[in-house]
Amino acid sequence: MSGKYDYTTLKTDVLIIGAGGAGLRAAIAATEAGCSVIVASKSLLGKAHTVMAEGGIAASLGNVDPQDNWQVHFRDTYVEGVFLGNWRMVELLAKEAPDRVYELERYGALFDRTPEGKIMQRPFGAHTYRRLCYVGDKTGLELIRTLQDKVAHSEAKILDEFVVTKIVSVNGKVAGAFGISMREGTFKLIECKSLIVASGGLGRLFKVTSNSWEGTGDGLALSYRAGAVLMDMEMVQFHPTGMVWPPAVRGILVTEGVRGEGGMLYNKDGERFMLRYSPKKKELDARDVVARSIYREIIEGRGTEHGGVYLDIRHRGAKYIMEKLPSMYMQYKEFAEIDITKEKMEVAPTVHYHMGGIRVNPETQMTNVEGLFAAGEAASGLHGANRLGGNSLTDLLVFGKLAGVSASAYAKQGKQIKFDESVVKEEIDRVMSFVENPGATNPYPLIDTLRESMSKYVGILRNDSDLNKAYDAIKSLKPKLKDIGVRGSLRFNPGLLACLEFTNLIQSAELLVRGAIERKESRGAHFRSDFPNRSHDFRKNILFKLNEGRDEMSFAAVPELPDHLKDLGKEED
């Protein structure tokens, strides 16, 4: 008979949590450096959230607009991030993007081409030039497949359908991670010399989201508990257009491409309201502006009966629509029985991306915990207060690689940190308490309550009283954490996962709301109707760190631009 505390131990140099674009790119870099690598992922290999990315990957190749270069890319990213980004990260992104894209092509990705046979680039919101390299409207899929192939043919070991429940750290140094193999229904401990968190965002914290199942902010909560600093937690990007009706598909993304191809927004009175909010750029203004305008229309009673506004592309004609937006056509046809060539779409903003996350050193992607690295959506600092479309996929490649390189360099010098077995037993106790608790409450309704109050109170337009309502809701949910539980075993037990994720969601939610309350200004995606202006005093990052069981909040000034970038990132108020 197996005992309660049974687990198997694996050893590796570098452990990577997450098999999205960032995790896989890091795995390639670390194996190339000669380290042993394990990639742990909650979902099957190749299913990570990154497959959903549509639009493209931003890199200043200048194939269509030769004027484009890394400086312009830097300026676009830094300025649209409303001066909250870390200049060094933005610089690395802008400079390395072309190399990473060409590298992806050498790995086998097949981009759409220009007539001269170069990589084709399309325009996107707030990018000065046509900069997004793309593969139809399935860029993320191609990126994942290419990296997945590369990793599958390398020495890296894939541990998929494995949920990490704890990152083990000792005295500010990382030692390993612990989790459940869902397929085997067993516990596993992975000892490692360095660890990269590439676990994606926290969109699932909200009721209406374009994010996949995995976006529960696990990596953030786990690293936080292991001692890492979280930053910019309040910065959540809303995509202006998500599906609204039927309720079952609420939140699914309607690509920016629809507006790019000339789609127009109307309220229920048939008014093209963007003319009022943004007479110049109209529907193609930055995401936060458009999202806020749509939201205003809805709350001021000019929305549709389902709580959205109309997006109309019919004037383009059936042929054009089918050619340029085939998957949008399919999506509406399949899910909503709406023929977008004949009917208007109903859309409303949907949670899309989390700019905040784990604070890292821009040169190495290492966190304040030694040996703990972060990359991708889980890390923070690059996008500041607003992310440009297409910059995320670039982020995954540039910083995924950087994290892989520095984590393997660290692993080669570092030693395996020893720790006491009691840590593991404690964690087993914690996890098992969810399944060994006969009178436990079902976690699902609690998660629903949390997600509902987040969507309701921490939305596009925030204010002090709403935020405090959310904070109260979180506080009243927190004590219930110890009562939740489900029946069943460790093998593919969705209820158990819900318990674990609820713990992580509550953690992220609390910090997110606290940050939002503290930031008494409006900047990028964070808009306070009680403080509608940007304030220079808040050109700071809000940081959180766990100190002996207490959340400690602090402010850190955004690093000043060095001389060679001063002109590019000038703040014009």
Binding site: L44, G46, K47, A48, H49, V51, M52, L61, Y102, E105, R106, Y107, G108, L110, F111, D112, R113, E116, G117, K118, M120, V135, K138, L141, E142, R145, D149, K150, A152, H153, I158, R183, G185, S212, W213, E214, P246, P247, A248, V249, I252, L253, Q331, E334, F335, E337, N442, Y444, P445, D448, V486, R487, G488, S489, R491, F492, N493, P494, G495, A498
Partner: protein
């Protein structure tokens, strides 16, 4: 609100041999898909009901199952296209792990056997490729690895052989048709891949949610490439001559 009866196959082979069909009654709202119904059961009736899903937007290919006997994506199948009584089975071609979750790891082993993209030598960087050369491969690159085609293929489902299966032929076609790729994987497909077992009966093409024309555009062209080097005497001759670079 309407109600629908859903029968789901429940089992956990690692624990017991018991297999039972459990019936749930689920209220159906507008636009609901099968995956929503399964989630309803998880949230309100039985949180231990296992199902694999991820995107709920028909983009990741996780939620494959057999709905009333037809392999489909649960998140792409609307409840109003089905009757009042629905049966959901896990995909049958692969061993069940628990309830609706199956072990598809065999596919990842096959994927390792397929030689990765290998560019021609001496290419000038950055590479140039023409749009006319990339379009054919692109169709296959939309594969979301849902394994529905593998499930419905009788060679995989009902027989034992070394046949890789349609999904992997699609992958091989995607690599072979890359204009700058230097290897021909049809030889591998002929010998280790057992493409000869496919009898082009096109079930795979019928179920693909990405509407890839698997048999017409991937399997038959690969079969024809195999003919070139394994059967056709003239083709062989041409190949020999070409190799000698006359």
């Amino acid at each position: 609100m309407q109600e629908v009866k859903i029968r789901i196959r429940r089992s956990e082979p690692a624990v017991s041999n018991e297999v039972r069909y459990q019936e749930f009654t689920v209220p159906v709202g507008e636009g609901m898909v099968v995956l929503d119904a399964v989630h309803y059961i998880q949230n309100n009736i039985d949180p231990t009901l296992s199902v694999r899903w991820n995107c709920k937007a028909a983009r990741c290919g996780s939620c494959s199952a057999e709905i009333d006997g037809m392999p489909k994506l649960m998140c792409k199948t609307r409840m109003d296209t089905l009757g009042k009584e629905i049966t959901i089975n896990p995909i049958k071609a692969y061993p069940v792990v628990k309830d609706l979750v199956t072990d598809v790891s065999h596919n990842y082993e096959i994927a390792k056997k397929i030689p990765p993209f290998t560019p021609k030598e001496g290419l000038k960087e950055p590479w140039t490729m023409m749009q006319i050369d990339v379009t054919r491969s692109k169709e296959f690159r939309t594969c979301i690895e849902c394994f529905l085609c593998q499930d419905v293929c009788h060679v995989i489902r009902e027989h034992q052989s070394n046949y890789f299966g349609p999904k992997h032929v699609v992958k091989i076609a995607a690599l072979d048709l890359h204009p700058l790729d230097s290897i021909d994987r049809s030889e591998l497909l002929h010998h280790d891949g057992g493409l000869g077992y496919c009898d082009i009966t096109k079930c795979c093409q019928n179920v693909c949610p990405e509407e890839i024309r698997i048999t017409d555009n991937a399997i038959i062209p690969e079969k024809e490439r195999i003919v070139d080097h394994a059967y056709d005497p003239i083709g062989l001759l041409i190949k020999k001559v070409k190799r000698r670079k006359w």
